[in-house]
Symmetry: T
Subunit: 137 residues, 12 copies
């Protein structure tokens, strides 16, 4: 079973950026622990700050992977192009957020992506990713 | 570890109501399978169609249970009183939805409850409840 | 043919409350005259001020009655839960209003229920109920 | 008792146009059956696609007829001039719609006419006209 | 002179819930002190988390009591049905709030009830109730 | 100097319609008195309930008359086509209203025509027309 | 017959300020010509840039003058206090504007004052004042 | 192949009206050149300023013509009735505009007709009509 | 204990202005009775129609008085500057209104001041001031 | 004559993605047929999913090409930066869409680009590109 | 070179008011240091809490000074009259704010003045004034 | 002291693009003059049209530079991702704009970035950059 985690803008700074909101763990460290836990899965990981490169990666993986876990960061609230990419691919996409986006600024309460995703998970910190992986089992 | 699932209005009809949206399984059958899977947990279940009774149950369990999993159904989008109840109790509350609320009518995209919950999970069918249980482990 | 009239909040005060808007006749007196007129029908009547109890009654009658005539009063404009109950049951539901809701406050111009009902009748005073009964003949 | 049914734009196409929404019966056929049923009434019928001609007809009949049944079609949602005409005449006007306008596009949920009419009936197919006639008895 | 204080959802938790907002005193203790102060008045008290039961109580007391002091909690901002109940009864109703609702979330700035009440008092902590009692003297 | 008064929908009912708002004088009587007062002017008058005929009349008079006084009634608030007609002609157009449109329903506070007219006069009863004539002197 | 013209903020700059919008004539020169024309009237004039002083002047003249002609300039669109002052006095107030406010910025299309004035005149340049004087004759 | 061009309000003034926006050519001259170019087609032309007559013409041609090219002018932005007419007929309708409606006033950016048309073409001057004809080849 | 009542625009007309809304008593008469009742307090009074002078008075009294009772009249709904003044001073400010502002025009339902005041009291007629005084005891 | 077609996000999937909306033909195949048809033109083609690269290409071609045909996909509705690029270059830009964007989700009805383009063509499937090419002839 | 700094409401309290937002320095002290730094300039200073007096000062200095630096405080967001004054004068006006108005309440994000000023500077504390002075050099 | 100027989309065209808005000087020429003026500073410069590359550059410089001067062009109004990047880095960011964005299209009045920046400067032409440099001294 091939699953990819795709992280969007600023998530490369996890562990550095606003640690009161996002926690102090880097994503690489977290991803290593996740792989260790789910040894039966073929888990991979991609990050980019460029909206179009996230679209490229969705196109590349979206026809033969079994699942995509997408944290599109700030593009969640503004990108019709990403929404179209999710609708265009075959692989089911799960939207995750580390923080509870509904407890933050008003403009973060709207997701342009959610309606095209299979499901949404937000607010569990890094554990949001594990729950998304669980959803594919 | 004591966890309760609280279901709101119309969820007593699961398996009967709009099966194309909610599936054909009754919640009782699903709950039995969930209990069987998580034998180490003290799982209980409550359902009411009355907003105020849901508030009563939150008050009753919200100070000594370890977790509350709440699917408030239609009250999700309209109830400030439930929101206040969630904010008033000590136990962390997870909001779940069976369907992807973001792919339905516009007024279902807003949750008055989400910002006071620890996290939100929606769109995974009945499996949304299991993922919520997982989040407490 | 089994038909039930379900009245929501404050309609127990008919004949007492704001008689310039709703008229001076109590609903019991009106209902008696309606039963007398339609002797071939099995007409029953229920009233509650509690939103959840209206939902309970819809569930209870919504699978084997032939028609439901619903005046949800103030819940008409605020209740997603009632809307979901109407969508969940099999029996066709007719929405009625005694006063012309479009000639009153702005917030009464929107009905969350109407789109899930078979039809809507408003503004004919008590006669709105009779027209709803007629619609089932 | 003199009653007129006034139909607005596109209703001349009934039986031809979008039959999944409006049904396959022409209005002429329906009107004949209605006249046959209510032989004690002086029922007449008028249709125009021109907003101003509908206003002319309201002026012409609105001072000596006993009732006007108006289906203003698309002008329902846009015409302040028709609203003014209804307010200007003496005869009570009943607004009818064949389809359930609340279950269609957002812009059809608002009626500029309703607040000046005696009552509104929508969603019963052709039977909406009969219920309107009933309301005058 | 018969006056009743009616408290809505979550106010049974006063002294327990969000003490930084609402203070640490239970309402029972406060009510005892209020009765002690106004010995010449016939003061009573009712609380429910159920919207419809608050309506029932308004109907029950709203025709022979001299005053009703209502803190409808979260229902203040969402309940057309409560608004209608206030409009339907004869007894003057005073709306009170413990906290300054205008200094809290946006959705708390709108009261559906205020326009049907005789007056509104908010922001004085428990003392808001005393000022409401004073207004009847 | 050639000036025409063009009246829109329902203004043929002046003296009949809502006399508390518009007064009891017919426009023909008023127009006669106006002509008598301004004998030096070539004053004419046109009325139609049909939007397109008002446009036709604007085209017909809008290139060689010296002034147009337009009371477009309900079309004032809804007609982009009339606005375009005013912009298309050479003759200056004055918008008049008998009643104070700003003291009436919200939707009457917006004029689609005003920005293309030379000036606007409202609220002076029939005298609004005289002031418009004065403005051309 | 005592009539006062009250001018609000920046109108002291007439003839200096944005002459493409307001023309090159000073108000003093215009006022002199107006007085000369209407010798039978007791015409006076007041100008202030201070909102509260305009209110003071309305109070001072609003009980024994026969007419007030008010150009409130920028306060037209923002001042509830001026609106209240107009509603509070007995003398009828006419709102005038030199430019066509409907052909300018969006926020100038709304007048908080108009609904409390007897009538409104805008767009005729300085001549707007003369038409207002005419309306009192 | 039978194709009709239907022009709405004010388009009879082409070549006269706002020539900076619409150009100096009359539509008759343009139509002659178009006919000359597409000799293999049965091209006809209709214009009216009356909304209802445009609807009549759509009904008349909408069941046996092969294509309708519609420039509804100002009715584009306000007419639900025209929208319904387009939806009611069988012949595909192409919406055209001479000017770029998106570069003009805000209210011209919304078309009530577009969603019921096969396609839309705007901004090419008279050439918009030729492109529409091309689309049928 | 030093307390000042500050009244804003048009409140100098109390007893004269719109007596159906505000009652027939002048504020001076009322203030005398209030002083007589609370002889133990150092009560003073100030009124101005000028927004900036109200700010000046808040600055002057806002650092050594024990309480400020402010009825800002029409400035309540429009003045960010007054709001800033309330936030800037040390003395607690109570907002009062004579009428029930929630039962009047829509724009009176919003107070820019309330969130910076300690509490709000509205709808009790002149008695609103007494309740505000009571709140300081 | 040098013309370039620039396609934005997800259009590389044409023939693969949502074929019920966009058809089953790949753009490469279509482009080959277009080149074959217009042999007298120097037609080229570019596609990118990256917003900034589309801007780069507009800068690169926008000063010496004769025409640009732009289908910006999802960026159409969200990109001020692309809008600025279109405004910045000299070459006229034609906006095209394969589907009828007005018949899809609400947010697709707004184009940030259209007002800076020479013209817009939408809804003709692949044929939209041919019509755009035609517009340059 | 003659430059004046004009400060609006509450800025006389600088150093006293909300020192966490505005800092502890009084404006007089700051102004002295600024004068000391720019000895080659003729710098003056004015403050008023009265909107109309700020307008008066703009009129007085706006035709022969070389620059005006305006911090209109709370009037920034509400005053059309000040906006008109800025547009009316010849001297370029620079808008300054001490705090970052975009990081504060929503209503502070809109400036009615900015579009008529030459430029805007906000968020640099007292240093905002120095940068404004620099802009004139 | 290390300071970087980061320019966003289309600013590479300065001196070429819309010279009536942005002036005729290229940014390279301007930057050279700025470096010459501030020889004591370590000034660098970066430009990209790609949103994600601007984010990359903010990450790269945002932890050890002393100041960032950001003109995000069109992304200012649409990019939550850039806003998050500014919030994530340590270095203070100053937002600059060459033109007065408040005097341009409505959508340019909102900045998603401003609330996370230390300060904002707009409207001074190229000189906006110099003032931003000054703010770090």
């Amino acid at each position: 079973m091939k699953i990819i985690i795709i992280n969007g803008p600023n998530l490369n700074l996890l562990g550095t950026r606003e640690t009161n909101v996002y926690g102090a763990q880097s994503f690489d460290a977290y991803f290593a622990s996740l792989k260790a836990k789910y040894t039966g899965l073929d888990l991979s990981y991609y990050q980019s700050n460029v909206e179009g490169e996230l679209i490229n990666k969705l196109h590349e993986t979206g026809f033969d992977f079994d699942g995509i876990i997408l944290n599109a960061g700030g593009y969640t609230h503004t990108s019709v192009a990403l929404r179209d990419a999710i609708a265009a691919v075959k692989t089911p996409v799960i939207e995750v957020h580390i923080s509870n986006i509904f407890a933050r600024e008003e403009f973060r309460h709207t997701s342009l992506l959610a309606s095209k995703c299979k499901g949404s998970i937000s607010g569990f910190g890094m554990d949001s990713y594990r729950l998304a992986v669980e959803s594919f089992l």
